[in-house]
């Protein structure tokens, strides 16, 4: 892997940019690997990267039915924050946030992590109580979060409407300054490049069609559209399709998959300096470095794998955006899209061993997995390498739905579900 640097740019400028190499190779699949990761999204590629760098396991294949980073990694609204209520969630999301800081240097790839601040608006007494509870809980866990008056909120984000005449006036806000955004594609590409350089095989257009198990139940490998590939350890990181893959291994999951939509506007000059979220009117917005407003909507109400969704969901979100930012009422929206998110009953992810020996699963990130990408890959690689969870992901078992030890962010995740 040739290092990217200002000198590399200068050198290539001198010779007509003919020396750039492919960022990752596309090898033919081998007959057998030590570890197979199903799904080349951010979480899967990060898992492969940390398997190689932290645990020295490089005989790894990442199988992807489509193209690398083409699922939810390329479809989310790129928001990063760690202001979750419960200790377990705070642990894993803040682990990720600490890795975001310095990720570009670690990967030698600019993931454009920008700690521009995530501000969550309160519109009523209940919001104030909930958000202040989050501020205090976060601070006890060493996570920055502070309470702002409406005037301070407007100072932090000037286009925000804090008029008392608004239908849902802003009565306060919680601000996590370390929160922000990153370039989602670059995260997948950066991890892919780093993993590939260490010998990991990234195999695109290779759909897993079955999971093969030995008579004693242990995993033997996976059937794919490019033939059988053997492995003693298989990690399923397939987002909305996780339950489909797990079913192939005979494991029924506490998951349901829903469409989640987002949209972007035409590009404009910098006007939104941070991320603004509101659960009560349900909208979140930030501005990309290209100038587009990036707007996240809610999920549709029914199970679907269609990667699309109802127009009324987008309308509802744009109503809320216009309420919060009246200056955007005449903006044109450029495009919208959907992704399929796998949601657990308690809205917390599952990163765990499964009842099948050698089969591991990292799923259930629901509507907010992007922010956790580095942390999720880091602890999931540990889980696979050691056949034992890292202390950070130890609570995120499948068994919690039998024992009742839920991590019930459903009511506390600081986003509406």
């Amino acid at each position: 892997m040739k290092k990217y640097s200002v000198f590399a740019i200068a050198r290539e400028a001198m010779r007509g940019h003919k020396g750039w190499e492919e960022q990752w190779s596309s090898p033919e699949p081998k007959k057998e690997y030590d570890v197979i990761i199903v799904g080349a999204g951010g979480h899967g590629l990060a898992t492969a990267y940390y398997l190689a760098t932290v645990h020295g396991i490089t005989n790894v294949a990442v199988l992807e039915k489509g193209w690398l980073g083409g699922g939810n990694t390329g479809r989310n609204t790129t928001i990063i924050r760690s202001n979750y209520l419960y200790d377990e969630s705070a642990g894993i999301y803040d682990h990720a946030l600490k890795l975001w800081d310095g990720l570009s240097q670690e990967l030698n790839y600019n993931v454009m992590y920008s700690a521009r601040g995530v501000m969550m608006l309160a519109h009523n007494v209940h919001d104030i109580q909930v958000l202040k509870r989050h501020v205090h809980a976060n601070r006890l866990n060493g996570i920055d979060n502070e309470w702002l008056s409406p005037e301070q909120a407007k100072e932090f984000c000037p286009p925000l409407n804090i008029s008392r005449d608004a239908r849902y006036p802003v009565v306060g806000a919680a601000l996590q300054r370390r929160g922000g955004t990153a370039r989602h594609d670059a995260v997948a590409w950066g991890y892919a490049r780093g993993a590939s350089a260490r010998g990991v095989h990234i195999i695109q257009n290779c759909e897993v069609t079955g999971v093969k198990r030995a008579p004693n139940g242990a995993v033997l490998g996976v059937d794919t559209t490019r033939g059988f590939i053997g492995a003693k350890k298989v990690g399923v990181v397939a987002a909305g399709h996780s339950s489909v893959i797990m079913n192939m291994a005979g494991v029924r999951m506490p998951l349901e998959s829903y469409p989640l939509q987002a949209l972007v506007s035409e590009p404009i000059k910098p006007v939104v300096p941070c991320v603004v979220m509101s659960n009560t009117v349900h909208a979140y917005i930030s501005q990309s470095d290209k100038g587009e407003l990036v707007i996240g909507a809610g999920t549709d109400q029914y199970v679907s794998y269609s990667q699309t969704g109802g127009l009324h969901i987008l309308q509802h979100t744009l109503d809320a955006i216009c309420e919060m930012f009246p200056i955007f009422t005449r903006m044109k929206m450029l495009r919208s899209w959907g992704g399929i998110v796998d949601v657990t009953p308690d809205r917390s992810p599952i990163l765990a061993k499964t009842p099948v020996p050698g089969l591991y699963v990292n799923c259930g990130w629901g509507t907010g997995g992007f922010k956790a990408t580095p942390g999720s890959g880091h602890v999931f690689a540990h889980t696979i390498a050691k056949d034992d969870p890292h202390p950070i992901n130890a609570p995120f078992t499948i068994e919690r739905f039998r024992t009742g030890r839920l991590i019930d962010e459903a009511a506390a995740a600081a986003v509406a579900h």
Partner: protein, 98 residues
């Protein structure tokens, strides 16, 4: 937006009038307190989440307000049929090969 046929109103109405109520044909135990942890987990948390034909409940919230069942393809979001609550799971589906 989906167009959904309410089997009670016998009319196709826009999705906005309806609330999805999750997977259908999951029977609640008559003795729920006596359920084992395993059985309770299956009843309460485990879902089939199929890529393909799903049997699901809907409620005509802003119409007759009644619950009914529907068969839908989760890949195309097209409804195969709807039927009244309490009716058995249809053995044969119109227009579906498998």
């Amino acid at each position: 937006m989906l167009l959904i046929r309410c089997p009670y109103c016998e009319e196709e109405r826009p999705e906005l009038e309806f609330r999805n109520a999750g997977e259908a044909h999951i029977a609640r135990s008559a003795n729920i307190a006596g359920e084992s942890d395993d059985d309770f987990e299956k009843f309460f948390f485990i879902r089939s989440n199929p890529k393909g034909i799903i049997y699901e409940r809907w409620r005509h919230m802003h119409g007759c307000a009644r619950f009914f069942n529907a068969v839908r393809d989760t890949v195309t979001d097209k409804f195969v049929m709807t039927y009244k609550a309490g009716e058995p799971k249809p053995a044969k589906l119109p227009g579906v090969a498998k």
